[in-house]
Each structure stands twice: as structure tokens, then as C-alpha cells.
């Protein structure tokens, strides 16, 4: 039940090829075969009363309100479960139908709180609205009969409550949990009148429920409702915006009462989520108004000093004075900036422009450096563009999917639900992951193959898969001949066919049994539409870029590119990883992935920006740290990223940050990085931002402000003021002007504007004259670079190896309820699910090391040591331990190393040789305060 009544056609669309003509209440309508009478009626403009039906769920036929009469047929069939037939004539209104509907409503209301006793009409209960519409005035049964009105509310979930007294047992919640979310946590218990909705007999919080909110969304009464709704009451306005958590980019309607956000309701019109959500986007937005928000600029001379609250003017003046002083002492290249994948395209564009045009160098990088920079590199090399090839809906057509180094049910839950739906329909799944992620076996989903490789051996595995394809005659020769370079294919084919790439040869390194790998390879190559989905388990390795190219090679060789159901698809970690890369945040590229040395491109920017630009690449983030320690890089502006917690080898990072003469942090909170900052500039939360995010499927979504910036300034305004004070005037009336400039200088964005977005909802780039409505699927008729380019992908093992001193391999990931460094989610009730990071360890290793479940362990690598609690589980194989990095207290990155991808310097988070021992009593528990290297 939502404030905005999205049109609900009652039952899902049927993609029928043939169409059927029917007449509903005298209105003729043509619909695809298989469409329900209810949907046909809705399309004809006839609203049939319904409670159990909604167009996001399969027809169920339980409420019996939607009964209709069909000419020539006996009885009163339910319109939701009755498919149209050619020439059918349907009446949705008659005295008999009215009487039946009143009868049903009378039964419902005989076991429902009366208006006087709490169930508020216009309070989110469709039941009362419908009672009025069917003309029911009197409940002749009275209210003294058997009922559920003394049942108690289950308020165990921090975000929503279940009140059985208003429940009508329509099963929409159960079906939403089954069909949309795919968790199957809910059921109906008892039979007959005793039927009640149940989370498997447990309170919601103790059940399998993942708190995605699908049940709350589906509930037609107030039985399942947000606690904020109960607390604040009915919202009075709605703003359509985009979630700021992961790279799925769900569309939400923010519902407000005055300036108070009452709830975030996923939008059915959202291209990425189609009405679904997860616990983070749906519920964990309270951080935006958390008391920890810093809303006043602050400065200090040394990071050891106390902060001083100052005006914006003073903060910007302080910043610019220092930046200028550094540049005059150490040259123009001695300062730089880092953009954030958490910010809008417009904010990112302005910061990189500030660096290039006002700082006068290319020392700009983005936090995507540490996550998906290999994606940018690898896909550009092979396909010609640095982006995933598909839209999310493509997976609905996949026959087999490979999930490599991604954990979608935790990291990208809304897309995972879509994957699971397709898997339940019969698509097959291959999981390549050292850890047994939930997708390997989850209700009604089981992977055909789980290739449980050792961390760091991705390339060996992908090469072996390709080897099977090439040597067993599974190459799609027609596709390769027509779409790919003959020369590079021939070289690659010869390379990959070498015996050292065979499954039998790579088995020793990867630990993947050759027979299983061969079977998986055959499945991928022969099952029809095969799609690859991957995450940071691919990129965050010494061979991250090689692996991305290896997957691209594989997809091209099997012809799995350029249509629905196939492709190579990065699952982006943050809301705007794609966008921040698109916007020219990398030190070597302008927006649209064009190298700074390209004279024509640079001249375009110089003309538009009215200043000369540097033609050589600038520093990457790790280079910045090294340069800082070397004393040649001294001033850094960081937009919304907590590199002290998120970047590897904390000791090294902290040393580099501490060595800076000026560190400017713009953020919502005083994060770990701000401990070393000289200037703190308050940022804006997504509820205050005005701009766009670009999700993992290249979909540009509008982010609309539901409130003004709490401190009065948009982030792009701050960057503009710094640039202007540096002597390069930058000014925009509003964010839409920034997008206009992006469109002006970026061919793939040429057709994008706020007006266009407001009109069509969202656009997937490229969007230009050739594709005015955007491009859901790329490389359809040809690759962006022309012919697909095969790259040989030798497997070069990382230097980071387990040894006697550090015998285990640590790999890292994330968990559903927490997000990244936890700056947001730790400031919400999501901590109830995950209040600390734990170390997963295999029972055999635990026994050998004397580690008991739930006890503190010390985790050490060659670069640092931290403590956390152990969780003994066979999810991880022997020899591998796993943790998350959401909490600064445990500081997983204290132990990760400086090793990185050979091509992009994306850190090797996923492989660290470690030692684990039970923590002794004297060990400071969980003290992971970054080491002060100056002492």
C-alpha cells in the first residue's frame, strides 16, 4: 500500500505472441494470449475490485472479489485466474456480482478492526477503500464471532511490524517473499479460519526473513507496515529518487510528511528494480538525519589539533590558501583530488573538472580505483567500452549464468532476486567462488557447479574453461568470424589451447577438479544464452584486469555477446561506480573514457572549459600515497570516501595521509580518514542531492532532493567555490546545467538531460542521435571498437602466497545488512543483524589452531594485525578465512597488502596470507586504531 497509487493491472504481463480480442463491459480491448481477464479489463480502463491480486505477483484467486460474468459460461469465475479467450464478452458489474462482492467484504470486515477501534480509512488499508466502493455499509455478522482481534503484533523487526488483527490472509506477503524476493521465509500456518501468516513459526527477526520489505510492499492492509509509518502517520507528498547504496540503483518514492521522511517505497516504474528493494535501500536511510552528521565546516592546522568550526567562506579560504602555497612550493602537480562513487555524476564531474582545470593537473582518481578499475581496463581493451554489456532484465532470458567472485544475495540483493527467479524457472547456475555463497544452495535454487577455486586463481580457471571451449570444438565460429578480429582470435586460440591452460594442468593451482570444470565449461558453451556476472572477486586481484579480459574472450568465443540473456556484466559495488568512471575521474581519461593525450578530445575540453589542460596522465590513488610519503604530493581533496578504512594496508595509507600538508575531507560524518584531515567540509546525503546516478547496467537515474542541504550548500557548489577561489571561475545555476555540460563534451551522453530523464524515467548510455532512448544492450550489431579484440591472458600467480609464517589465505566480502565501510548502515538499525565483523574459518583449521566458535582471534599478515571474533563454518574451504570490512573496530584492511592489479593498481584485497591465533587476554579487544606512523 503506497501513497502514490501506481497503476496496478492485477496480474503480470504475458508476453504472448498472438493477441486476443475481448470485450469488457462493452469496451473492446486487444491483449496478448494468456492475459487474465482482470488485466484485460484494467487495460480497457475497467477497474475490477481486488485484494489478493497485484501485477507483481502471479494470480492467486483467493479473495474472490474479482468475480465476473462471462457470456456463455456458467458461474462467476475469478477474473484474475481466468485467461482471456477470443471473442470473450465479460461483465464486471451486475447486481449478482455486487451482492457477492459485498458478501466477501462483509466476511472480511467481520474479522477486522472497525474504524473506531484503530484501522484508519485512508490510513493505508485497501480493505476500507474497497468496502466503500462495493457499497458495504453494515456487517450483519456483527463483531462478536470468532476473530483474530486479540492477536499480538510482532514488532521484532526494527523496521516493520506485523499486526495479525488487520491481516486478511491474502498471501500477498507470502507470495512476494516467494516470487519476488525468493527467500521463502513466510508461510501460512494452520488451516481454515486458523490460517495465519507466519515467518516459519518464529518472530520475523529470528526467521529466515532478510527484511527486503517485499511483504510490506505487497500487503493490501495495514497488517505489515513500516514502523515509521505507524509513528509519523500518513505521508503527504512523494519524491521520486534513486537509492544510494549498491550499484543496482533502485528507484524509490520517498514519502514525506512535511520534511520528515516517512518511508522509502520502491517504485514499480524503476527500470532496475521494478518495485523491489532490499533491507538497505528500503529501510536503512535513517543515517541521513543521524546526530553524527557534521553540518558545519571545520578546519585545523594540524590533524593533532582540535577541530574549529568555521564559516564556509573561511573553510574554503583556508583550503585554497594552503593549496596555492603547496603548488607554489612544490609545483602544480603536488596536489590532487579523489572523487566518490557515492556522489552524483554532476558532483563527480565538477570535482574532476576542478582538479584538471583549476588545479591544473590530472591528479584525479576515484574510489573505483579500488573496486572496478580492471573492469574499465579489461572491457575497453576487448569490447571497446568500459561498461557491462546488458541491462538487468536480460537475465530473464539467460539459460545459464556464471557468477564469479560476486555474492549477489548479499551485495546486490535486488538483482539477486531477479537471478533467483530465473533460476527457479529452470536456468542453470555455475558459481566460481572460494566461498560457498548463498546462491550455491538456496530455496529452490542449486548451482549445477560450484567451482570452489583457491583465492587468486581466477585466471587459471577462466583459461581452463576457454581451453575446453577451444579444444572441444565449442567455439561459435560464425560469431567469431563475423564479429571479431581474425588475427587476435587466432593468436588467442593458439595460446589458450596450450596444454598448460587445460583443466588438468590448472587443477593443481586452482584446486578445481578438472572433470567438474570441463562439465561447467560445456554447460556454459552449449546451454543457449550464457551470461557472466562478476564482482570484486574478479577485479581485486593482481590479475584483475587479465581476468576481466579472460571473461570477455570467453563470451566472444562462444558468441555470448550482443543480445538478450548473454554478456559480461560487472555487478558494481557502489551506487555510482559506473557514473564516477564515466565522468572522467581516472587520471588518464576525460569523461567518456577518452585518453588525455588525445589532442582532439583535449582541445574540445579546452574550448568548452576555456583553459589549457594537461596531456599526460596524473597520479592514481596508490601513486598518490607513495608520492605523499616521498614528499612530492602534499595536498589532497577527498570527496566522500573513507580511504583510511576502505583502502588496503591501513598502516601505509595512514602514513601517507599523515604526511600531507593539506587533507580536505568532504563527507557526512567524521570518518576514519577525517582523523588526518585539516579541513572538513560537510557533504550532502542522497536525500539532499539533485543529480543523477548511473548504475551497473549504465542506467542513468535521477536523484531528486527530498529536502534542502542541511547546511545550505550542494557539494558541486563547494567544488565550484574552491575552483573559483583558485582562480578558475566555475559556476552553475543548478545541477541540470552540469549535465548539459557533460552532454556537450561526452558523445555517449549527448542525448542526456534532466528534462529527458524526467520524461522517460531513466536512460542507459550511450544516449545520442544514434540511440535517442538509450542502449539497454551493447554491441548488438558490432562492438564499440569495431571488431571484438581477443587478448591473451597468461596466468601470473600473485606474489602473495601462504607460507609457514602466514599459512592461511584471507579473502574479504560484504554482508547483506551492512554497506561498505558501514558509515551509513552502522548508523541504522541494520546493526541488529551484523554488529561486528567476524572471521569465518573452516572447522578443521579452527581445531588445528585451537580456535573456538565466537571467541576472539588475532589475525595477522605481514603488514598488520587486528582482532575479531571467529565464526566456524564450512562455507569457506580449509586454508581460507573470510571477513567483511564494515566496521572500523576490526579494520580488516589493517592486514590487506600493497599488492595490486598489474594494469590498474586495483588492490589485491581478495588474497592476503595471514596467521590466525586465539587472542590472549592481554590483547586489546578489537582495537584497530590505525597505527600512528609518526611515533
Amino acid at each position: 500500500m503506497t501513497l502514490l497509487h501506481d497503476p496496478d493491472l492485477g496480474t503480470p504481463a504475458k508476453p504472448g505472441e498472438s493477441s486476443v480480442n475481448v470485450v469488457v463491459d462493452g469496451v473492446e480491448v486487444t491483449v496478448p494470449a494468456g492475459t487474465s481477464v482482470m488485466r484485460a479489463a484494467a487495460l480497457a480502463g475497467v477497474d475490477v475490485p481486488k485484494l489478493c491480486a497485484t501485477d507483481s505477483l502471479d494470480a492467486f484467486g483467493s479473495c474472490r472479489l474479482c468475480l465476473v460474468e462471462v457470456d456463455g459460461r456458467p458461474g462467476t469465475p475469478a477474473s484474475c485466474t481466468t485467461p482471456v479467450a477470443p471473442g470473450m464478452s465479460v461483465a464486471t458489474q451486475s447486481p449478482k456480482l455486487q451482492k457477492l462482492r459485498r458478501g466477501v467484504m462483509e466476511l472480511y470486515l467481520s474479522d477486522h478492526p472497525h474504524e473506531e477501534s484503530g484501522c484508519r480509512p485512508n490510513g493505508g488499508c485497501e480493505l476500507h477503500d474497497l468496502a466503500d466502493s462495493v457499497g458495504l455499509t453494515d456487517v450483519r455478522y456483527g463483531f462478536s464471532g470468532a476473530n483474530h482481534q486479540t492477536s499480538t503484533t510482532d514488532a521484532s523487526n526494527p523496521y516493520f511490524a506485523f499486526d495479525p488483527t488487520t491481516c486478511i490472509v491474502c498471501s500477498r506477503c507470502v507470495r512476494a517473499c516467494d516470487e519476488i524476493q525468493g527467500t521463502l521465509a513466510l508461510t501460512v500456518e494452520g488451516r481454515g479460519f486458523e490460517s495465519v501468516i507466519s515467518a516459519g513459526g518464529l518472530p520475523f527477526m529470528e526467521s529466515e526473513c532478510v527484511s527486503c520489505g517485499a511483504c510490506v510492499q505487497a500487503c493490501p492492509t495495514t497488517a505489515l507496515q513500516e514502523k515509521t509509518f505507524i509513528e509519523f502517520g500518513m505521508p503527504d507528498r512523494t519524491v521520486k529518487t534513486t537509492c544510494a547504496y549498491c550499484g543496482v540503483g533502485c528507484s524509490f518514492n520517498a514519502e514525506l510528511r512535511g520534511d520528515e521522511v516517512v518511508r522509502m517505497v520502491p517504485s514499480k516504474e524503476g527500470g532496475a528494480n521494478e518495485g523491489h528493494s532490499c533491507v538497505k535501500g528500503r529501510f536503512a536511510w535513517g543515517y541521513a538525519t543521524h546526530r553524527d552528521r557534521v553540518t558545519t565546516p571545520m578546519v585545523r592546522d594540524s590533524f593533532r589539533d582540535e577541530w574549529r568550526e568555521v564559516s564556509w567562506e573561511e573553510a574554503i579560504g583556508f583550503t585554497v590558501d594552503r593549496l596555492r602555497a603547496i603548488q607554489s612550493e612544490s609545483g602544480p602537480d603536488s596536489i590532487g583530488g579523489i572523487t566518490s562513487s557515492r556522489c552524483t555524476n554532476e558532483e563527480v564531474f565538477v570535482v574532476q573538472k576542478m582538479v584538471r582545470a583549476a588545479f591544473g593537473n590530472n591528479n584525479v582518481d576515484t574510489c573505483a580505483r579500488v573496486c572496478h578499475s580492471p573492469t574499465g581496463y579489461g572491457l575497453k581493451q576487448t569490447f571497446g567500452t568500459s561498461a557491462g554489456t546488458q541491462d538487468f532484465a536480460s537475465v530473464d532470458q539467460s539459460d545459464v549464468m556464471i557468477v564469479i567472485g560476486a555474492n549477489p544475495t548479499d551485495g546486490h540483493p535486488v538483482f539477486a532476486s531477479r537471478m533467483k527467479r530465473r533460476l527457479r524457472e529452470g536456468a542453470q547456475l555455475i558459481v566460481v567462488d572460494p566461498r560457498r555463497i548463498d546462491l550455491v544452495r538456496t530455496p529452490h535454487v542449486e548451482a549445477a557447479h560450484h567451482l570452489q577455486l583457491l583465492p587468486g586463481t581466477n585466471v587459471a580457471v577462466v583459461n581452463a574453461i576457454a581451453h575446453v571451449v577451444v579444444t572441444e570444438g565449442l567455439v561459435d565460429r560464425d560469431f567469431v568470424a563475423e564479429r571479431c578480429e581474425a588475427d587476435s582470435f587466432a593468436q588467442w586460440e593458439a595460446f589458450i589451447a596450450r596444454p598448460e591452460n587445460s583443466p588438468e594442468a590448472t587443477e593443481a593451482a586452482s584446486g578445481v577438479p578438472a572433470a567438474e570444470l570441463r562439465a561447467a565449461a560445456r554447460l556454459y558453451a552449449t546451454a543457449g544464452n550464457a551470461a557472466i556476472y562478476y564482482g570484486l572477486g574478479v577485479t581485486e586481484h593482481s590479475q584483475g584486469s587479465t581476468m576481466v579480459m579472460g571473461m570477455a574472450n570467453l563470451a566472444m568465443a562462444t558468441g555470448n555477446i550482443g543480445r538478450d540473456g548473454v554478456g559480461v556484466n560487472p555487478l558494481r559495488g557502489q551506487n555510482n561506480v559506473q557514473g564516477s568512471c564515466d565522468m572522467g575521474s581516472f587520471p588518464h581519461e576525460f569523461s567518456g573514457y577518452r585518453h588525455v593525450s588525445d589532442n582532439a578530445v583535449r582541445e574540445l575540453f579546452e574550448t568548452v572549459w576555456g583553459t589549457a589542460l594537461e596531456s599526460e596522465p596524473g597520479l592514481r590513488i596508490p601513486n598518490m600515497f607513495d608520492a605523499s610519503l616521498a614528499g612530492i604530493f602534499r595536498g589532497l581533496f577527498i570527496q566522500g570516501e573513507d580511504i583510511a578504512q576502505s583502502d588496503p594496508n591501513t598502516k601505509h595509507v595512514v602514513a601517507a595521509l599523515s604526511a600531507l600538508d593539506l587533507l580536505v575531507v568532504q563527507d557526512l560524518f567524521l570518518n576514519e580518514t577525517a582523523k588526518y584531515a585539516h579541513v572538513f567540509l560537510p557533504g550532502t546525503s542522497f536525500l539532499e542531492k539533485d543529480g543523477t546516478f548511473t548504475n551497473a547496467e549504465r542506467r542513468i537515474n535521477r536523484v531528486r532532493p527530498v529536502m534542502d542541504p542541511v547546511h545550505g550548500k550542494h557539494e558541486w557548489q563547494v567544488a565550484c567555490e574552491i575552483a573559483t577561489a583558485m582562480g578558475y571561475p566555475m559556476d552553475y545555476d543548478d545541477a541540470s546545467q552540469i549535465m548539459d555540460e557533460i552532454a556537450q563534451v561526452t558523445p555517449t551522453f549527448a542525448g542526456v538531460s534532466f528534462d529527458h530523464l524526467d520524461k522517460v524515467g531513466s536512460i542507459q548510455w550511450p544516449c545520442n542521435d544514434a540511440a535517442p532512448e538509450g542502449t539497454p544492450i551493447m554491441h548488438v550489431d558490432g562492438f564499440v571498437r569495431g571488431k571484438g579484440h581477443f587478448v591473451e591472458t597468461p596466468y601470473v600467480p600473485t606474489d602473495e602466497r601462504a607460507n609457514r609464517k602466514f599459512p592461511l589465505i584471507l579473502t574479504t566480502g560484504r554482508i547483506l545488512s551492512q554497506y561498505n565501510v558501514g558509515a551509513q548502515t552502522r548508523r541504522t538499525a541494520n546493526v541488529e543483524w551484523h554488529e561486528e565483523d567476524v572471521l569465518e574459518i573452516h572447522p578443521h583449521d579452527a581445531e588445528e589452531l585451537g580456535v573456538a566458535d565466537g571467541t576472539w582471534v588475532a589475525l595477522a599478515s605481514r603488514v598488520g594485525e587486528t582482532q575479531m571474533r571467529a565464526q566456524i563454518t564450512d562455507r569457506v574451504p580449509q586454508g581460507v578465512v573470510y571477513t567483511t570490512f564494515h566496521h572500523p573496530e576490526s579494520g580488516a584492511n589493517i592486514v590487506t597488502t600493497e599488492y595490486s592489479d598489474w594494469a590498474t593498481n586495483c588492490p589485491e584485497y581478495k588474497v592476503t596470507a595471514v596467521r590466525v591465533r586465539p587472542a590472549s587476554v592481554s590483547d586489546p579487544k578489537g582495537s584497530a586504531e590505525p597505527v600512528d606512523v609518526t611515533t
Partner: protein
Amino acid sequence: MTLDALVRMANQIAANQVHLPPDEAASRVADHVRLFWTPGMRQELVDHADAGADDLDPVVTEALEQVRTTIPAP
């Protein structure tokens, strides 16, 4: 700049061209360094090689001959 980091990065790039003949590998390394390294980083490594470094992959050493020509005059 931290020299060990530059040496490690350059050697790693070279190691990933292991499938190529040395001269082709050197060209690839040179291209990569030209596209992604700042002139200062390139200069530092060239200076290191010129000083008789013994910690560089021969492919890197060869590549640096091409890299040398890409560094703009300060």
C-alpha cells in the same frame, strides 16, 4: 615517489606479458607505462635504470628505452 613501488609495478606489468616475445613484451610495457604513469614516475624509473639498477626485469629495462622518449621536457 617510493622507488620500490615503481619497480614492483613495472616488473609486474612485464610479468604479465610473459606470453609474448621479449621485444613485443617490451613494447607493451612501454605503451602501458606511457598511457597510465605520470611523466614523473616514468622519469624516476628511467633514472633508476640509468643508475644501474639490478632489480628490473630485462623486459622493463628494454621498455624504458622507449619510455624515455615519451617523457615531456619539464
